[in-house]
């Protein structure tokens, strides 16, 4: 509802905005809440919250009570216009950075040396000097491929947690 009201703001809005008297605002626990934006606003006090809440989220019908008039921004601006401009910037930037360059090649060492001795293996389990344990190295590669937190937790390491070997 809030977003809908926000978008319906008149582009030719007056420079002065009618807002509720903050003294008549309901207690915070009783304020209608329907999302993080309102929760955030709930932490703001005074005229600002009245202006923002009433004007931007459309709570006028819920506020009731005597109304007063607060000043608009010193330099008037069109909130909706700013919203659209900011949104367009973010979308255009995201589009500009939407780049697919394809999968990048490695140097082939990881497949050339079938005992994985040509690749990084520090902290993995090793069978001998310079020779990673295959199951350990593959558990690292599996986690890197899946990206799952649990798979990283299950990597077979030489001495988990950096403890000294028994």
């Amino acid at each position: 509802m809030g977003e809908k009201r926000l978008r319906s703001v008149d582009k030719n809005a007056p420079q002065r905005t009618k807002v509720a008297n903050p003294k008549n605002l309901p207690d915070r626990p009783g304020t209608p809440s329907s999302g993080s934006r309102r929760k955030f606003l709930g932490n703001v006090s005074g005229v600002a919250v009245a202006a923002v809440t009433a004007g931007a989220i459309g709570l006028e019908p819920l506020l009731g009570g005597k109304e007063s008039v607060a000043d608009a921004a010193v330099v008037p601006y069109i909130s909706e216009g700013r919203e659209d401009k900011s949104f367009r910037y973010r979308v255009s930037t995201a589009n500009a950075e939407k780049v697919n360059i394809g999968e990048q090649p490695d140097n082939g060492d990881a497949t050339r040396f079938t005992d994985f001795s040509g690749s990084y293996s520090k902290a993995s389990l090793h069978d001998a000097l310079g020779v990673p344990n295959a199951a350990s190295w593959l558990s690292l590669k599996h986690a890197l491929k899946s990206g799952e937190f649990e798979d990283f937790e299950n990597i077979i390491v030489g001495t988990a947690g950096g403890e000294l070997e028994a």
Partner: protein, 432 residues
């Protein structure tokens, strides 16, 4: 993922050099020499006999002698040993070894920054190298706790040698060196980039955009973006081994350990024939690569380096905010200073009297700073091959440019800012 700049998977650097290549062999040889020379002050390089042996040995390496050599100043001399290069003869090989931004005291607000650091004690003076026995190496390689302990020098010093640089990079906040450079640049009155639209304005002044707070914040902001890019290549694309792991392959090859690692039998002969290996074995009793840190490298792959990627990104930011074409000596002298270099003991700063002191410019000293810090972590600490540094700095530049260009579109003020990239070409950031 991130909300600004290129996605990590859309950043591009070549595949890491193979473990079998002559470039990796050359880089490992350089690491061995770096370990042996860690306690030799940069000021002593021209006269040190071990430096002369390193220079002669490295000049025999096939990669350095080839047309493929993009990253080593060649021929190697005592004056350019362990220095970086993007373009032959660039700022990396001019002036003192250390960038002016790592030595000049400055202020962080009202707080003085001396540029003197806590360093490690030298070998023979209470300090040591690490992971030089097979048992110690294997324990750490398996993820075990480190065996040795660092010994700290109770006297704070200006950075004077490779071990000092390694100590700096053991605990630095990754953008620290570049933030300090920002303070030095501002402190000596470096003009803003000529494309800054506020230059000459009678009514406006750069502040939260294109001004000091923007620059200071952007430097720090770049660090995490740079790391995300680096981590993609480290873990998904390459998984390049660490120099210490390569040293284990050298050890396995030369001692014929069993079962033999397949890669040990495929190492390039340049490393096996290097004059450095007998010295390493004589000093340490193995062919493992001595490490400056008890734990050796951190537990993530070598290529590219986190330090280097952050360095490339942050340096690019500094070029965006400041006029990189300015000669640095006039700025320093105007501020009552001069081009300086740490004394041999690191207790004072001496004027640098080299004939090229008037040629040093901001861009060159920034490029040198990125290499200084990344080589401190790499060549001098023993945990990153040179090519990992080279490509990481270029990766950082790529990431920073994409972010700066994204952000330019958010600025209200129209501007076109040009910077000189590491390769000497010009990059333009504009919203016009």
């Amino acid at each position: 993922m991130d909300l600004e700049g290129l996605d990590s998977h859309a950043t591009v650097i070549p595949p890491a050099p193979s473990v079998t290549s002559n470039i990796t062999a050359a880089e490992e040889v350089e690491h061995y020499w770096g370990a042996l020379l860690a306690d030799v002050s940069f000021t002593e390089y021209p006269t040190n006999s071990l430096v002369a042996q390193a220079v002669a040995d490295m000049n025999r390496l096939s990669f350095l002698n080839s047309s493929q050599n993009f990253e080593y100043p060649f021929p190697v001399t005592p004056g350019n040993l362990f220095r970086g290069q993007f373009v032959p003869g660039d700022g990396n090989v001019q002036g003192p070894y250390l960038s002016q931004f790592m030595v000049h005291p400055t202020f962080f607000g009202a707080q003085p920054i001396s540029q003197q650091y806590q360093t490690f004690l030298p070998v023979g003076g209470g300090g040591g190298d690490f992971m030089t026995s097979v048992s110690e190496y294997q324990q750490i390689q398996n993820g075990g706790a480190s065996v040795g302990q660092l010994a700290f020098d109770p006297t704070f010093r200006f950075i004077r040698n490779g071990r000092d640089l390694a100590a700096y990079t053991h605990v630095d906040v990754l953008y620290q060196g570049y933030f300090t450079a920002f303070l030095v640049l501002a402190g000596i009155g470096t003009p803003p980039n000529p494309g800054n639209p506020y230059i000459g304005s009678r009514t406006e002044k750069a502040f939260c955009t294109l001004g000091g707070p923007d620059g200071a914040g952007t430097i720090a902001e770049m660090a995490t973006r740079a790391l995300k890019g680096a981590w993609f290549h480290k873990w998904i694309k390459d998984l390049r081994m660490r120099p210490e792991e390569y040293g284990a392959l050298v050890q396995a090859n030369l001692t014929k350990s069993t079962p033999a690692p397949q890669a040990a039998g495929a190492l390039h002969k340049d490393v096996l024939n290097s004059a450095v290996l007998p010295i390493i074995h004589q000093n340490f009793g193995s062919f493992l690569l001595p490490q400056a840190f008890p734990e050796g490298s951190p537990t993530h792959p070598c290529y590219p380096t986190g330090h280097g990627t952050v360095g490339g990104a942050c340096t690019t930011v500094l070029k965006f905010f400041f006029d990189g074409s300015q000669k640095i000596r006039p700025l320093l002298t105007h501020a009552g200073r001069d081009v300086v270099m740490p004394s041999t003991d690191g207790l004072s700063l001496n004027s640098y009297t080299g004939s090229d002191r008037d040629n040093l410019d901001i861009n060159g000293e920034l490029n040198k700073l990125a290499y200084n810090i990344s080589f401190g972590h790499g060549i001098h600490a023993g945990i990153h091959f040179r090519s990992s540094t080279y490509w990481s700095i270029l990766l950082g530049e790529q990431i920073a440019l994409s972010m700066l260009r994204d952000r330019a579109k958010s600025n209200n003020e129209p501007f076109t800012i040009s910077i000189t990239k590491f390769d000497g070409t010009t990059a333009v950031i504009t919203n016009q």
